[in-house]
Symmetry: C2
DNA sequence: ACAAGGAAGTAACGCGCGTTATTAAAGCGC
DNA sequence: GCGCTTTAATAACGCGCGTTACTTCCTTGT
């Protein structure tokens, strides 16, 4: 920077002023031009670390995920990344791999790097408890919530997702709709079932509990559940299946095809999660709901930016819609 | 740090010495203990940015990928991450999204952050040309190579992968093995075919070109190719299919099942890429080869660390084996 | 007794930059 | 010509730390 100043025949301070567009500093166009020219000629590049030190503003946000591998974390990263870079902020990413020791180490490093905020994302919607050092810095939870309800969090709107899926099947003329659910105790299963039942009631149909079976989040479990539903007498048999996730839809597909039934003519299927590799390559392609991971990532950075700037949050608990992706299974 | 020094009754220099285990500095245990105690009591945490500035060693490596989403990039990140954190180095990750402007912007930021090395990873094995600013810093290519052959690169060993897959099928007793290949012009397709033919020749079988069909990297293309192979007269019909990737194996599965043939009893299948969501959930589960993305990521960081330390590289072009994952389709 | 040498610790500079207070020059009204 | 304001630019300090050169005190050997 001193070289640039010398080259342009000004002081280092002046260079700093044009570099930062310092408001209140009166720099004639001619001087500014000379400086920019010198920067260009010398190939000068400001040192981000030194700027951070001097300005007491690191520009870093931390992002802790359970696993980096896996489509979900990657989407959160993508969303957070794009939003952060656009704002000239940067993401220090770490994976805890579910190991508290690694998580603590990651947290330590982040604090040493003086992150201005922390994003904590989980693979599936659930409750978490953070180490208390995390309180030293603004923190936002993504796809999870803390039991005490103290930290702001961003969650998928499971209920409206369940409603939207069911509604889609109702619109296609189905009235007996089976729900092959996840583990019934987890928030996703609870919310989606609520949405499912609300959609039915709104259509004047009383939800039939015998049409709701757990599929235990596996293709095999869903296959078993689907077999049970499809082997009922014609009058009791559902003409559509809403599956808790896409892997389960895969199992359901097998059960349906095995019986010589066609998708979607005989049985329609809606999945959940939009795992591209499954949903887009099943035959026929699977209509499913997407978990809004990318949107959750960008929203997380937004909230962090607000918190880091000392602004209050309008909402402590944000839910984001799960959009329906139409393919060919309905 | 000054607070810690005052609290422990020593100078800041001494604190720095114990913090960095400065060799040659004689610190009595008693003094060291007092200092560590003060650190603990005051909750002192060194400022990573300031250390980097003073030591003139940022500790950052840059990682540029085409897409963050998608299983491949995520694995590279995982591998690089774990290796880097273990070495107290950190990864500044950016996605180019295939956009040269974004790529240039990312590169700029990385250089401003004074990365000590750059990892450039692509989604599929191919040639690339980097912007020349990338030459300002040690660079290693991952899953790609530069046409000039100047930059060190890490590539999957496609040939040995093709050999291993074919060998597995030969060992299971198959002698007529169909190859439903990727776009025949890309390095992956060429290498794998070479390995396939070498394995056949080693088993005393002359490769039959009519058994090699392009599947164009899609499930539909592979379905078509598989149909063509399976509809041949029994004597010409392959009893095993080696598919260019797992999505194509999916298409092959459909063709096989449609004909009432069983996997693996009537037709065995081997895929490539190990896309967990497909391979592990197809029924039966798919035996496939894994692209060693994670290993490539860790190796990349290793090479970068060596380069950043000024050590020469033993090999300019590293290939890494593609391990076989046995499941139930052979 | 004294020199030599090691142990323990420190003052002071510099890393690359942002920022504040201050100065010097230029413009303006009378 | 003199005061006053605006414009243009700078010297100097501090951010939090690593490091070098230097000082002081204590042993040890003869």
């Amino acid at each position: 920077m001193s070289d640039v100043a010398r080259h342009a025949g000004v002081s280092r301070t002046t260079v700093s002023f044009v570099l930062n567009d310092k408001p209140g500093a009166a720099i004639p166009d001619e001087t500014r031009r000379r400086i920019l020219e010198a920067i260009d000629e010398l190939g000068y590049r400001p040192n981000a670390g030194a700027r951070a030190l001097a300005a007491n503003r690191s520009g870093w946000f931390g992002l802790i995920t359970e696993i980096v591998t896996g489509p979900f974390a990657a989407e959160v990263i993508t969303g957070a990344q794009s939003r952060a870079w656009g704002d000239r902020r940067f993401l220090l990413i770490a994976a805890s791999e579910g190991d508290p020791a690694q998580e603590a180490a990651a947290l330590d490093q982040m604090l040493e790097h003086r992150v201005e905020g922390l994003l904590y994302a989980t693979t599936w919607h659930r409750a978490v408890t953070l180490p208390k050092v995390a309180r030293e810095v603004p923190t936002v939870l993504v796809n999870c919530y803390d039991a005490e309800g103290e930290l702001p969090c961003i969650l998928p709107d499971e209920e409206s997702g369940g409603h939207r899926a069911t509604r889609r099947l109702l619109d296609a003329g189905h009235t007996r709709i089976g729900l092959i659910n996840l583990d019934p105790a987890i928030p996703a299963a609870i919310g989606r079932r609520e949405g499912y039942e609300r959609a039915l009631r709104e259509a004047g149909i009383t939800p039939d509990p015998s049409l709701v079976l757990p599929g235990w989040a596996t293709a095999d479990g869903a296959y078993t559940a689907a077999c049970e539903l499809l082997d009922r007498p014609a009058a009791d048999r559902p003409t559509a299946l809403f599956c808790g996730n896409d892997r389960m839809a895969m199992g359901a597909y097998d059960a349906i095809k095995e019986r010589g039934l066609r998708i979607p003519h005989d049985v329609a299927v809606v999945g959940f999660d939009n795992q591209e590799l499954i949903a887009a390559y099943l035959r026929p392609k699977l209509t499913t709901l997407a978990l809004p991971f990318e949107a959750m990532g960008t929203k997380g950075v937004d909230m962090l930016a607000a918190l880091a700037a000392g602004q209050p949050l309008d909402t402590h608990r944000v839910t984001i819609d799960c959009p329906l992706l139409e393919r060919s299974s309905v």
